[in-house]
């Protein structure tokens, strides 16, 4: 029997170059699933990524796709969406790509509420360059550029995006399969900027060096045990939550998106004579 998602994947581009057990496959699978379940025509979907392990996956999904520059996926996507609002534009990015070098674009896209969906795989390191410190690496963690332990605090990306103005913000881990797919679907349907963070395993760097776990499933188990639903977390103290991953939907609101605002502006500008 053929895999039910086979038609969504460019099987001719296989093999891929991801390590066994990496979360990247899951993330792309979920994005493809979400699009499929929403009944969106794949030829009207554009996947945009930057540079990094995670960014390399876009060419395996059977839609238009771009691997752009390190950190710049959202800027490219902004141009694409504004040029053709009929397209469903989804950015798939890593934590370093999206929040390190690309942090400025991330917050500005949320502020201007452009109708994009960003799915960010947070593996806590810069994986494709060899496991260096990322803006999401936990305090104290040993990475190849923090040989004495990380002295910086990591970003809480969901809180950052909430403050920046995104209309939909959610965080899940690779343990939370169904809620993650539902969130991606919800994000795509939003008429504004949506952000879905997936905490996922990079067995090669995060697993081996930071979590000191050898098997990908152990990483997923670790995520499961460390996760606390947002609703439950509200009744817990900051101390109790210090090493926990808070998951759930953080923002789900309605606000008119940039493309729609621009459309209205265009109508008015034709009438007025500036």
């Amino acid at each position: 029997m053929e895999h039910p998602l086979r038609s969504l994947i460019k099987v001719e581009n296989l093999p891929h170059e991801f390590c066994p057990g990496c979360a990247i496959g899951q993330v792309y699978h979920w994005v493809a699933r979400a699009v499929d379940e929403l009944g969106i025509d794949m030829s009207k979907v554009v996947l945009v990524s930057g540079i990094g392990c995670c960014a390399r996956g876009v060419r395996f999904v059977r839609c238009d796709a771009l691997t752009t520059l390190h950190g710049r996926a959202i800027a490219f996507a902004t141009g694409i969406k504004l040029a053709n609002p009929k397209l469903t534009v989804i950015v798939v990015t890593g934590d370093g790509d999206g929040s390190g070098i690309g942090g400025n674009h991330l917050i500005h896209a949320a502020r201007r509420n452009i109708e994009l969906t960003v799915v960010l795989l947070n593996n806590g390191v810069y994986a494709s360059t060899g496991g260096q410190l990322a803006p999401t690496t936990p305090y104290g963690a040993y990475t190849s550029t923090t040989p004495f332990g990380n002295i910086e605090d990591p970003f809480d990306l969901c809180r950052l995006l909430e403050a920046a103005g995104a209309v939909y913000v959610a965080r899940w881990t690779t343990y939370h399969v169904r809620p993650a797919i539902e969130s991606i679907k919800k994000g795509i349907k939003k008429n504004g900027f949506s952000f879905i963070e997936i905490i996922g395993q990079c067995p090669t760097y995060l697993g081996r060096y930071i979590l000191k776990l050898s098997e990908p499933v152990e990483c997923i188990d670790w995520f499961k045990n460390k996760s606390v639903r947002k609703e439950l977390a509200e009744s817990m103290s900051e101390e109790e939550l210090s090493d926990k991953i808070i998951v759930g939907e953080f923002v789900d609101k309605e606000k008119i998106g940039l493309v729609e605002r621009y459309r209205r502006l265009t109508e008015e500008s034709v009438r007025s004579d500036v």
């Binding site: 460019k10 581009n13 170059e17 794949m42 030829s43 009207k44 554009v46 945009v48 876009v58 060419r59 059977r62 839609c63 238009d64 796709a65 771009l66 691997t67 752009t68 520059l69 710049r72 959202i74 800027a75 490219f76 996507a77 902004t78 141009g79 694409i80 504004l82 040029a83 053709n84 009929k86 397209l87 400025n104 674009h105 500005h108 621009y262 502006l265 265009t266 500008s269 034709v270 500036v274």
Partner: protein, 380 residues
């Protein structure tokens, strides 16, 4: 919007108008003097013609959004000045690699970032070699007047669409901030070029397959081709080359990026010449300085000096053989430019040591006719 006829307007505004006439329907930029009037005019005009204007958070995102919009099917442009142009360089490299048409207006000024905002011609080499990667060509144009800011902006779009390459307009503050007469022709008198789009069966489409002297037809995002774009070394099918062993598969695509420009150099390069046939002293210049050069050359002729002028309208590609031939009669060649010597070395390379090449360099603003005449008299 603007009717055919004669207008007295600012150079930067003429540039924006040219873009609208050329069919530009997307503009993304970040404010910087002396560019800002282009952005302001685009913000006013684009919504009226159904186009999109966006002020981005920086120049990096401006070029990236411009490329994205072009891939999604619109003629797209950004505008900046030297410091912003530096920030755009990585994006320009991506546009070259993915053969994405786009126009970049660089209203040059004295650098670096916090420097003065007087005009200069300091980004000539940055335009040519600013981005990363060794094998590529770009096209760069140099306007001398408000009229040319209009005409050459249209030409920039045409060349960009034809060759699927970023085209850079090397304007500067002295022409961008100049006010003079612009003649706007009837729209149907303006020749416009649009990119060739893919029409074949999507299964047979190879996004980067073309004869060496051409750019391939383009699959617009969302048009059903399910194309993949990458800045990586890629094959004709667009597959990234991730191992050195397979490098040869990308070789042709990468060589074509230069060849598609080089083999059409006669069609691309525009030069303006005056009194070159018997000239013993030739002034080579571009931009505003070229106007001063023309006056100086005419004055010199009145004094009986056999002087001539060669103005580079197209700066890149540099047409070595043509320039060598045009300068054949000269004993000395004066290169007048507003920088520390950039085209100077190109001219030296082109004439290959046969003639004396004399620099006449200013560091800001533009040359006066007298400054050039003095030099002509000195070397004649």
């Amino acid at each position: 919007m603007i009717k055919p006829g004669s207008y007295f307007i600012l150079g930067n505004h003429a540039c924006a108008l040219g873009a609208i006439y050329a069919g530009c329907r997307f503009f993304a930029a970040y404010p910087i003097t002396p560019q800002s009037e282009i952005a302001e005019e685009m913000a006013r005009l684009l919504p009226k013609v159904g186009g999109v204007f966006i002020q981005m958070e920086d120049e990096i995102s401006s070029i990236c959004a411009t490329i994205g919009a072009s891939l999604a099917g619109l003629k797209a442009m950004t505008a900046t000045s030297g410091p912003g142009f530096s920030l755009m360089q990585e994006g320009i490299g991506y546009a070259i690699a993915t053969e994405t048409p786009c126009v970049i207006i660089d209203v040059q000024r004295v650098g670096p970032s916090t420097g003065s905002i007087f005009g200069q011609q300091g980004d000539v080499m940055q335009a040519r070699w600013g981005t990363h990667g060794g094998i590529y060509e770009i096209i760069a144009l140099s306007p001398s007047s408000v009229q040319e800011l209009f005409d050459l902006t249209i030409q920039a779009f045409n060349l960009s669409e034809e060759y699927r390459v970023p085209v850079i307009m090397l304007s500067d503050a002295s022409v961008g901030h100049l006010r003079e007469t612009l003649i706007v022709p009837e729209a149907d008198k303006i020749r416009l070029v649009n990119r060739r789009v893919a029409t074949c069966n999507p299964e047979e489409y190879k996004p980067f397959e073309a004869p060496m002297d051409k750019s391939p037809p383009m699959a617009i995002l969302g048009s059903g081709y399910r194309v993949y774009y990458t800045g990586h070394l890629h094959t004709e099918e667009g597959h990234p080359i991730l191992s050195l062993v397979r490098y040869h598969l990308a070789d042709k695509v990468w060589r074509r990026l230069s060849a598609k420009i080089r083999s059409n150099i006669d069609k691309i390069v525009m030069l303006e010449t005056k009194y070159l046939e018997d000239a013993e002293v030739i002034v080579i210049s571009y931009g505003m300085s070229a106007r001063a050069a023309l006056k100086a050359v005419m004055d010199a002729r009145e004094m009986g000096i056999k002087a001539g002028m060669l103005r580079l309208v197209t700066i890149w590609p540099f047409h070595d053989s043509l320039i060598r031939d045009l300068c054949a009669s000269a004993k000395s060649i004066i290169v007048a430019e507003v920088n520390n010597g950039q085209i100077l070395y190109e001219v030296k390379r082109a004439v290959d040591g046969d003639q004396k090449v004399i620099p006449l360099l200013k560091l800001v603003d533009t040359h006066t006719p007298d400054e050039i005449l003095l030099k002509i008299k000195e070397v004649a």
